[in-house]
Amino acid sequence: MNDVATGFSILTLLTVLPLAGALLALFIPRHARGIALITALVGLAMALVVWLHLPADGSIGMGERISWVPSLGIEYHLGVDGLGALMVLLSAVVTLMSVDAAHRVHHQPGLYYALVLALESGLFGSFTALNFFHWFLFWELSLIPAFFLIKLWGGPNRGPASTQFFIYTMAGSVALLLSFLAVFLSTGSMDFTELTALAASGSLTQMVTAHLGAVMPWLAMGVLAGFAVKVPMVPFHTWLPAAYAEAPSPVTMLLTGAMSKMGVYGLLRIAIPLFGPQIAAIRTPLLILAVATVVMGAWAAAAQKDLKRVFAYSSVNHLGYCLLGIFALAVPASGAAAQASQAAALNGVILQMFNHGLTAAALFWFIAMIQFRTGGLRGIDDFGGLRKPAPVFAGLMGIALFSSLGLPGLNGFVGEFLIFRGVFPLAWIAATVSVLGLLVYAAAILTVIQKVFSGPVPEHWAKFPDLHHSERLALAPVIGLMILLGLVPQLIVDGVNPTVVYLLAHWRF
Amino acid sequence: MNYADLFRAMLPETVLEIAALLVLVVDLGFVRKAALQTRVAVASLLGIVGCIVAIWGVYAAGNAGFSVDGELLLSAGRIAGVAQVGILVLSAITLLLLVGEEFTKHVGEYVAVVLMAAAGGLIIAAAQDLLVIFVGLELLSLGLYILTAFAKKSGKSAEAAMKYYLFGGMSAAFLLFGFSYFYGLTGTTNLEGIQTAIAKSGPTPLLYVAWILVVAGLGFKVAAVPFHLWAPDTYEGAPAPAAAFIASVSKVASFALILTIGSKWLTLQPDSTSGLVGLAVALHAIDKTWTQLAVVLLFVSAASMVLGNLAALAQVSVRRLLAYSAIAHAGYILLGVTTLPHYSTAIAEFPLIVGRIISVGNSANAVIYYILTYGLTTIGAFGVVGVVERATGSDRLDSFLGLHKRNPILAAVLLVLFLSLAGIPPLVGFWAKFNLFAAVLNVGAGPAPFALVALAIALSAVSLYYYLQVLKRAYVMPAADESPIKANPVTTLVLVAIAAAVVIMGCFPALLQNWIASF
């Protein structure tokens, strides 16, 4: 464990700060948005500090470890490596974007911003936690604000949508909890680093089998199920379109930008390290499901008439690539080439997590703007030729759309490329079929662009307002980041790659 | 026949008789023209003074007892002494309750009868001879019949007295008949003499018949099933202070008598071959805790507990409720009596007296403790009922509605007393029950004693229900009439003192126990 150069518990501070902001916003509702903005900005600054102080060898840094409930193996154990720090950074960025996008909350603004900040705290907490209890605490705690954000400010169907969201995620959590309890009962430890080391040496399977019998495959499936709901993976994804559509767009930004990454992060932090051999054993069915996620996501996106649902399914599709990459690399490495492919896939997955988060959040921001301007309309067929009255809007949203599509030069490309680069040698059938998803999705996006921005302008949209200055100012860094990361991906890769190497060295299939 | 000894042994009774005569003289001679309440006050005062002097007499009588030709006629000290002091104290308290009552103009006569009946009670508490027992019993009973009828204006009073008298006369006949058999079997009327004679001569089936007849007679006195039919009517009809007297003093005396007889005779063995005895023998074979004669008492006890508690559930008159609960309590106490003939070696505090009266160990102490505290509590209960009756005109449950508003002190006293009867700690009634059950279990740890104690405790739970019914009326349910109920200050003081005593003795049970042991 390397301690941060500044010498104090920055991760704890990072997690607690949004909670403090939430309390402030709750009690001073008139300035809630301002408080939230400031808190989000400070959070972003701290996330950057964390990012810049990562250990060079890709191991876990800025660790804090205090004993909490020894009899249950519960410790207050925090730490980040490249993966965690990147997710923290993503969360900070997306939260800032979400707060900015929600510029007029009519109904109980104090509560709204408090919940958003509480959600951010939950995200920070779960991305920095290294002990199951702590991690699970924040995993559950992020669920509550999300539920209420959908339930209280959502669209007309918010009741069933939030209910479904809650139930699915809870069910997944229960499966996770039970599997982890079994692990704890066998090993007496709830610490991720310890358990990873045990798994790497092969002792974990031994200990579990000794205590409980041959249940490792069941535990692996329990853990996978928990994350499969969150990512989501087909067929556990049915909660997502309704939830994303009914939630107010700024909340959807958070859901898709950051919360969905919790699932993938969990796979990388918990499922793969601890249950590598079991996952490798069922790799083929998992790959099939991943491919199904990719293809089905794309196909469904193409079929939607509601913009929010288009991008909801597009999230399913993009995260399907992450799943593809993860399951593809779950093979015992048999040579330098295979190892290189694994590294590429993993790098791609992590990059995709960040890039998709950024892009999807941006896209929903744009939808929020459209909704605001049109009084809530968001059907594909409701618009047309918006390029004429709002060229800047069309241009910026176009960039975001193309990034989502995966155009080279924009950030969306790099992740997908690396994933395919890594998956092709490891699982070429899956990769090939997934290309289908690429094609279908490209068609879907182009259709959106065509229907919304091109073509003749209907009368009532002739006066469609373009972006204000403040909006341009807010969006500029985001779009700029998309372009920058597309052209110079090393900015991220340099920070992530050592962690990738480190992780792969410690994983065992 | 040493008349000095006789005088000394009978000092308490003599004092009471003199006090009775004095009351009559003073009331008829000197204060005849005064107001009723003045006469009541004077008579009660004289009666109480008489009781107090009699208590001194009990102490002065020492432990010697009174014997003729080597045969003990009257014992003193130990159980007898405790019972006698108890009788006198309780009588004094019932006399205090007389203050404020208006049910009769014949105050002097009333107090005199009370004192004479108390004297009868003193005699049977100490008696060791069949004839002496009978004399004392009749003195007590006749007094009680008269007291029951004292409310001349009430039809119920007369009816109750008639029933009591007829029943009592019949059971006295049974008792005498049983006694005559004992005399016939042994040729002596002395309890101890009878015991030694039968023990020497061997078992005989006639013993059983005699014993059952005696139990019938004694059972009547304590209102045990199936000899209880007089109790509800008497409790309902007699004027409140008289009912209090009947419920407390006569019970103490009667149980003291049962203890005396039981400690002598319960060890006797009837013939084991006769059919009549077969059942008892069979039971005795199951659980050796009880002797064959004690088994009869066991049936009576169990029946009393069950019937008393169950019947009380259905009552709407509080007096009748108290009557049936008295039957139930008699059942509990008899359970303690049945384990009398065993000696607990663990407690060596109670020395033999004059080599004549056998140490009776835990059970006797527990029984005496129970009956004394029960008597006190019952007097208090009747005191409250009396006040409510005078104010509302009836003793139905509904008369108690809203009592906590109408007279909070009275309601609080009622709460304490009824909870004590139900056996809720930290009140003395709980301790008495606990003590009794512990004594029962201490002698026999087989399944049958446990079963009976369990039955008793379960029935206590039932009793909580009907006691709570009264308390519910007093505290919970809304009242139709909320006018305040005024009670005589003396009465209130007495009742509060009783309630306080119940609480204090419950918190410090050793106080009374030590006093009993010190005799």
Binding site: S71, I144 | K472, Y475, V476, F508
Partner: protein
């Protein structure tokens, strides 16, 4: 220090009965003062006893003839439960601030009940424990019968009789143990070392366990609990579910398991898969957990949901008790504290905050009242309490239930699985209640909005806020830092298990 909790409460009860009814404010503040004083003593005693292990507070010979001692003892478990009582007492008074009827008697009975509860937790002598246990019954009866709501007289009588029957069973066991032990004392320590024969323990243990279990809401003797809780006024249901049910569990632990541990030994035969009283009571506990949860799921009355959830949560306590391992018992005691606070909070919200304003507890009617908008404090307080009740991490219930689960697993995996099902159903019924009562999807019509404006709810008063804060902070503090309590519980459990083995 801790003994003063008892005396202050009883003294306060006596004085409260004498205070004039015309001055309700005086009575309330007096009662609050007494309860706060008790809480302070409890906290001081708790802190002082932190590393002391078992302390004997008082030991006087009470009835020499039977070897009964007036003996007060505090170990970690007692201190934790005394602390719980203190917190619950203060919270209960805060939530009874609006009682107007016969205020002096209300607080007199309330404080007497609290005194009895303190006494049970601190008793070191079995007879004394029994006395305090019985003392607590009568105030309960009157609190419910006079100040309660739905079917209060029936509920009160049922509660009183069930409790009395339970204590009657305990009395029989007490007498039997005293008679059999030959040690001629009724102190807990004395009886524990008396060497009671195994055959005796085999029948005395279930008798006493069931006797106490009745009050702890053990299935199938739990039927008094939902009726009683619903009938009781808010403060009484808070105390009933929060503290009084813990008396039963404490009795099971301290008396049944502490004095008759061999009653849990395996039998020489197996009946329907059960091989010892331990199996039997574990089965009853698991049934209670699941049954309570399932029935709660089906209720139409808000308060009944909470009542049945109490039965379910107490099932966890009982399950933890029969696991007979360190972690299971730790969890059971922690759950006693945790559920005490959480149940108190739930009943306070349902009874005081919601019912006193809406005058209905039926979901069908509450659904149309838009409580999330009109009573935001209540809604969010219930969210917090509901999450705590579900066992969400960060609240005290999670650690407690986790410990019980681990302990149950180590004893018999089937028990843990059963309990796990209960947790899942708990999430369901809590969430259903939350939805139906507060966060409904029903959109108000115009006339409904007008009616709401015309008849607004009474605003939240400061005692309610204070009460919610007190209970909420307690559960969160223990949830975030369970060591506060576990540091005292673990050594005490260890000592108890050592004595048992």
């Amino acid at each position: 220090m801790l003994a003063w909790c008892i005396y202050i409460s009883f003294g306060g009860a006596f004085i409260a009965a004498l205070l004039p009814n015309r001055k309700p404010g005086l009575v309330r503040w007096f009662a609050l003062g007494v309860a706060l004083l008790g809480l302070l003593h409890a906290m001081a005693g708790f802190a002082a006893g932190a590393s002391q292990g078992s302390q004997v507070l008082t030991d006087k010979l009470w009835v020499p003839a039977m070897g009964i001692h007036y003996m007060l003892v505090a170990d970690g478990i007692s201190r934790v439960l005394v602390l719980l009582t203190g917190i619950a007492a203060v919270a209960g008074i805060l939530f009874s601030w609006n009682v107007e009827l016969r205020v002096n008697q209300f607080f007199a009975f309330y404080l007497a009940l609290i005194g009895g509860v303190y006494g049970v937790f601190l008793s070191g002598d079995l007879f004394l424990l029994f006395v305090f246990y019985e003392i607590a019954i009568i105030p309960k009866y009157f609190l419910i019968a006079i100040w309660g709501s739905t079917r209060r007289e029936y509920g009160a009588m049922k509660l009183a009789l069930y409790s009395f029957v339970g204590s009657a069973m305990v009395l029989i066991g007490l007498l039997a143990a005293y008679a059999t032990s030959g040690s001629h004392t009724t102190t807990l320590a004395g009886l524990a070392h008396a060497g009671l024969p195994v055959s005796f323990q085999m029948w005395c243990f279930p008798l006493v366990f069931v006797g106490f279990g009745i009050l702890a809401g053990m299935w199938p003797f739990h039927t008094w609990a939902p009726t009683g809780h619903v009938a009781a006024p808010t403060a009484a249901s808070m105390l009933l579910a929060g503290v009084v049910m813990k008396l039963g569990a404490y009795g099971c632990l301290r008396v049944a398991i502490g004095l008759f541990p061999h009653g849990l030994d395996p039998w020489s035969f197996t009946l329907l898969g059960l091989a010892s009283w331990r199996d039997v009571f574990a089965l009853l506990a698991v049934i209670g957990i699941i049954y309570g949860a399932l029935v709660a799921l089906a209720q139409t009355d808000f308060k009944f949901v909470i009542g049945y959830s109490s039965v379910s949560h107490m099932g966890f306590v009982l399950l933890g008790l029969v696991t007979l391992n360190q972690i299971g018992l730790d969890g059971a005691v922690l759950q006693m504290f945790s559920h005490g606070v959480i149940a108190g909070l739930l009943f306070a919200i349902v009874g005081r905050i919601v019912y006193d304003r809406t005058h209905t507890r039926q979901f069908a009617e509450l659904e149309h009242m838009h409580l999330a908008r009109r009573m935001p404090f209540a809604a969010w307080a219930f969210v917090g309490a509901g999450l705590a009740s579900m066992g969400l991490p960060g609240f005290s219930g999670f650690i407690a239930e986790l410990q019980v689960l681990v302990g149950a697993w180590r004893a018999n995996p089937l028990w843990a699985m059963g309990a796990g099902v209960g947790i899942i159903v708990a999430v369901a019924y809590t969430w259903r209640a939350l939805q139906k009562a507060f966060f409904t999807d029903h959109v108000p019509g115009a006339h409904e909005l007008e009616a709401e404006k015309a008849h607004p709810f009474a605003p939240i008063t400061w005692p309610e806020v204070a009460g919610v804060a007190l209970l909420g902070i307690s559960t969160v503090a223990v949830g975030v830092y369970p060591r506060i309590l576990l540091d005292q519980i673990e050594p005490a459990v260890k000592a108890l298990l050592g004595g048992v083995q």
